[in-house]
Assembly symmetry: C3
């Protein structure tokens, strides 16, 4: 009933994705700590894409995305990466909040998505 | 399996609500940027009510509410609006966090609620 | 279809846990406002354990944990408590964010977990 994918590349004691009841929840930061939010946002969204593919779904089935940025005044830079990424025929609910992130992270994402009925096997 | 409601009044590239597996997730800020948290909280909770009605549910079926305020020291003002709003026979799980919000927003809400079995049609 | 557990020890107008579709969402802070994040993290995780037990599940079935700390630079202290607590055979998805918390709280947790098919009765 629960499928777990991980551990996270950041830590041996956290998963990167978990599936239950046909819904995945997954977390991402940018693997490269680029100096601009736009670049980190593009990378973090690409990690979301990879995490979704790993569990057998894609951005057309994303339900919600929580966006955490280290400087809310820079939100337009995130929006630019978002607008390039999002599936306009399948708009997720999104909220964007300014928080403190660790180290040089400028953005962290937590997304949920529906997973097809024949799930990928856990890895 | 997924019902999407939107786009958000704030952006053409975000939804305001999404329903999957009989649960809606919805986001709200205050449409009017009143100078007090109490006033914004009342308005944001009213938006939650409207978003819930749109998908065919109401506050008696709310599961969780994440409350993000721009000044945690002002939380009692949010609590006052909450206590006026909440269905005391059906208490949601709630967490309240101080974060940076955009522009003149003093509060942002993300709520989940159960939706009845015969859902409203998506709009 | 919805089971509510509460009210929270903090307030008569909030729940501490809610179950829907076989998934519980629960919130915790440390009952004792110890001066160190490590001590508060241990206590808050113990509250999560109690809340999970109350609804008939345990940490082996935790899906996600959102960790909110009042000082992100102190995250290693949270990680130490986490590593002592987590079920390494069943890693949850986790995200950790620096936010403003109320009063002397140094950490707040919001966790989701799968609940077995024969749920405990609501209290």
């Amino acid at each position: 009933m629960i499928q777990r994918f991980g551990p996270s590349p950041l830590s041996q004691t956290r998963g990167r994705s978990v599936v239950c009841n046909g819904i995945v929840t997954t977390v991402a930061t940018a693997p490269t700590k680029h100096p601009t939010l736009y670049e980190q946002a593009r990378e973090a969204l690409a990690v979301i894409d990879r995490n979704l593919a790993e569990v057998g779904t894609d951005k057309s089935r994303v339900l919600t995305v929580m966006v955490y940025v280290s400087d809310i005044r820079d939100k337009p830079a995130f929006n630019r990466a978002w607008d390039e990424w999002v599936d306009r025929a399948n708009l997720p609910m999104r909220a964007c909040l300014g928080v403190e992130l660790e180290g040089d992270d400028l953005v962290e994402l937590v997304a949920t998505a529906a997973v097809s009925e024949s799930p990928a096997s856990a890895a």
